[in-house]
């Protein structure tokens, strides 16, 4: 935990302003791109950034900048950084921080604050942003003296990326940015209460392995923690060595190659019937880096009723929070899995694997490609055209679930999806952030018209910085997921869900991007192909069947096996 007290280059900070220190610490932390929006209380910092080698990306709204930092972090594993001014600038990143917090994304946010002497006086553009953000971040900190700024920044990066990662907010009053250091600052991290490096206890590792070996119907239930920990390879090795079928959460998409015969795709509310039946029938659930979210478990009282539950997680507070765990392993997913693998014995589980193969055959995700263009069909086509290899962001709603079901994910850090918070509007800017982190790679946002409209202004940002993101809007002129619930549970009373859309093609062109409208099945593959081959940013507007529903669906409060299967039933 201890670090050198001087800068790693050994250079002196004596006489430097807070703003200069800010810039130099960011460089020391290896920050290559900073997303944000300027304002009065960060003027000294932006003055410094004017001549900094760090790339600055100006979003059109601070929320967009926060989601860009998030998308950058999810797709690269590096820490995303965002900066905003005090008051409204700071409150505009709140959603972005809450979103990153729910999905354990490493992010550091810097906000300007009014002059120290004015804090608490309801000054112009003042907000108690550390107070506001405390419950929705991993940590917050208000820097009161320039001597503390460097250490606070170092601690922020350290906290954000270690343990269970998350966003950290550092609030910097303007006088801290302008003050000059009269003495060499102490940059040593001092966090006596923070011990993020946890290794699973060997006794628990062995107990877990024994339970797996004894199991006849095991299921690996894999969450985002596996991707965060870089444990996908270990997971795949464990699955193959033990012949363990794997289901992932929304956050775990890509942890396992969905083309693998052991893969059962996503579980939960809109998960595959195979995964849900397997969980309900299993005698041993091995949860790795997942947290038994209510969207995954359905009714917790009847979740996996026959199973012994093993839970591997770095966050002790996740253990037995929602579901009583039989064998907890508190530790890093990669380390824990690698150690469990050693004790795994080959066991013949052919009846179980046979059963799963049958379910997979009987209950694939499906749709009928007739009538209007089907949203699933668009994703299917995109998946094939990109060989299931693109980085894919989404908004939140029906299109998100269809993307999860139909893209057929292959690798970690490929899915850039707002899971825990379910933030509509996330996809547009998150895809831009992912593109910044992955130059030369294909980055797509599969979006709905509702989510897209919320943040589409950021298309301007992609145009300005020449980021060739492809936004594919599944446009059904409804807020589709809410409409689906209204159809199923509220007697088709479509209250506030009709959502007539503007001409997205014209908007894209007005923003300086390419716009493509697809209205007919015959144009679908060519239109999408054209978009993917275009070297710059493109918005593709596909009018799809307006009243298509997402199936399977576990109604709220029901058990996983009580899902409605739609056309499969």
């Amino acid at each position: 935990m201890t670090k050198k007290s001087k800068s790693s280059e050994g250079a002196s900070f004596l006489g430097a302003s807070g703003a200069e220190l800010f810039d130099r610490i960011l460089q020391e932390e290896g920050v290559e791109v900073l997303f944000g929006f300027p304002g009065g209380m960060v003027l000294p910092i932006f003055d410094r950034l004017y001549s900094s080698p760090i790339k600055f990306v100006l979003s059109r709204h601070e929320q967009g900048a926060a989601h860009m930092a998030d998308g950058y972090a999810r797709s690269t594993g590096r820490t995303g950084v965002v900066i905003a001014t005090s008051g409204p600038g700071a409150t505009n990143i709140v959603t972005g921080l809450a979103n990153a917090h729910m999905d354990s994304v490493p992010m550091v946010a810097f906000t300007g604050q009014v002059r120290s002497a004015l804090i608490g006086n309801d000054a112009f553009q003042e907000a108690d942003i550390t107070g506001i953000c405390r419950p929705i971040t991993k940590h917050t900190c208000l820097v009161k003296r320039v001597e503390d700024l460097g250490r606070a920044m170092k601690e922020a990066f350290y906290i954000a990326r270690t343990g269970r990662p998350g966003p950290v907010l550092v609030d910097i009053p303007i006088d801290v940015s302008t003050s000059k250091l009269a003495q060499e600052p102490n940059l040593q991290i001092a966090l006596p209460g923070y011990k993020p490096r946890i290794s699973g206890h060997i006794r628990q590792i062995k107990l877990a392995a024994e339970a797996i070996n004894a199991s006849k119907r095991p299921v690996l239930y894999v969450g985002g923690g596996v991707i965060i920990a870089g444990a996908s390879e270990a997971l795949r090795e464990l699955a193959h060595k033990g012949k363990l079928p794997v289901t992932t959460t929304l956050m775990g998409l890509g942890a396992v190659d969905e083309a693998d015969p052991l893969a059962m795709q996503m579980l939960g509310m809109h998960g595959s019937a195979t995964a849900n039946y397997a969980v309900q029938d299993s005698d041993c659930i091995i949860a790795v880096g997942a947290r038994f979210d209510d969207r995954v478990t359905g009714n917790t009282a009847t979740f996996a009723p026959k199973a012994k539950i093993i839970h591997i997680d770095i966050d002790p507070a996740s253990i037995s929070k929602n579901i009583k765990v039989d064998i907890p392993v508190v530790g890093d997913a990669k380390d824990s899995l690698e150690r469990i693998i050693e004790f795994i014995q080959p066991v013949d589980r052919s009846p179980w694997l046979e059963q799963i193969a049958q379910w997979k055959k009987r209950y694939p995700f499906t749709y009928e490609a007739n009538g209007n263009i089907k949203p699933q069909e668009v994703i299917d086509t995109v998946a094939k055209l990109t060989d299931h290899d693109a980085i894919v962001a989404t908004g939140v709603g029906q299109h998100q679930m269809w993307a999860a079901q139909f893209y057929k994910w292959r690798k970690p850090r490929q899915a850039i999806i707002s899971g825990g918070l379910g933030t509509m509007g996330f996809g547009v800017p998150a895809a831009i952030g992912a593109q910044f982190g992955n130059p030369g790679k294909t980055v797509i946002d599969i979006d709905g018209d509702g989510s897209f409209t919320m943040t589409m202004v950021e298309v301007i940002t992609a145009v300005r910085y020449d980021q060739p993101v492809k936004w594919i809007v599944l446009d059904n002129d409804y807020l589709g997921m809410v409409r689906q619930w209204q159809e199923m549970f509220y007697g088709r009373r479509y209250s506030a869900t009709p959502h007539p859309c503007p001409e997205f093609k014209a908007i894209a062109e007005g923003f300086g991007a390419r716009g493509i409208s697809i209205r007919d099945r015959a144009e679908l593959a060519d239109g999408l192909n054209e978009a993917l081959r275009h070297p710059g940013p493109v918005v593709v507007d596909v009018k799809v069947e307006p009243e298509e529903n997402v199936f399977p669906m576990v109604p709220a409060g029901k058990s996983l096996h009580e899902m409605e299967l739609g056309k499969l039933a």
């Binding site: 405390r134 940590h139 209460g193």
Partner: protein
């Protein structure tokens, strides 16, 4: 069921708000929360009385441990400990009733710290049950005002038979 948890925290602005906010946000019920300085000027100790079953207690402990300025969390499950609650209570007592009240105070090893024409201000400390027993006995005389610190607690140095000595003291 009541549980006592103590947390050693770094003296930083916002820690108390953080802890209080976490309890509210996660729907944990607290009976009392006491914060005070310790032997180390950098650290304070919070003593929290939580209402809930064992599972709630476990979650509270883990959620507290996640708060970065919290250095150490300890719960008193299966541990022998000493708890104290300090009370100031103003009891209605006319000169005629005064001896009766003073006798009651003496029986509870309390202290009369202020005397007025028609009332006595009493200081009393002890385990929660003792303090509450006194309140019940004082009630018939008329309680004018009452303030309590909430519980602070510490485990016993040796876990064996030191309990007896303390109970004798009470």
């Amino acid at each position: 069921m009541k549980h006592i948890i103590t947390a050693l925290v770094q003296n930083q602005p916002g820690v108390l708000a953080h802890v209080a906010g976490m309890f509210a946000a996660r729907g944990f019920n607290i009976d009392s929360l006491v914060v005070g300085r310790t032997e180390d000027p950098e650290l304070s100790r919070m003593t929290i009385v939580v209402v809930g079953d064992d599972r709630v207690l476990e979650q509270v402990r883990k959620q507290l441990e996640k708060i970065i300025p919290i250095v150490k969390v300890r719960d008193f499950m299966n541990v022998s400990y000493v708890e104290r609650d300090l009370m100031l209570i103003r009891i209605h007592a006319t000169p005629e009733k005064r001896p009766e009240v003073v006798e009651l105070v003496n029986l509870f090893r309390g202290k009369v710290v202020d005397v007025a024409k028609s009332s006595l201000l009493v200081e009393l400390s002890g385990a929660e049950e003792k303090v509450e027993a006194f309140i019940e006995l004082a009630r018939p005389y008329g309680i004018r005002e009452l303030a309590r610190t909430g519980i602070i607690a510490m485990p016993r140095g040796t876990q064996s038979d030191s309990r007896q000595t303390d109970e004798a003291d009470e």
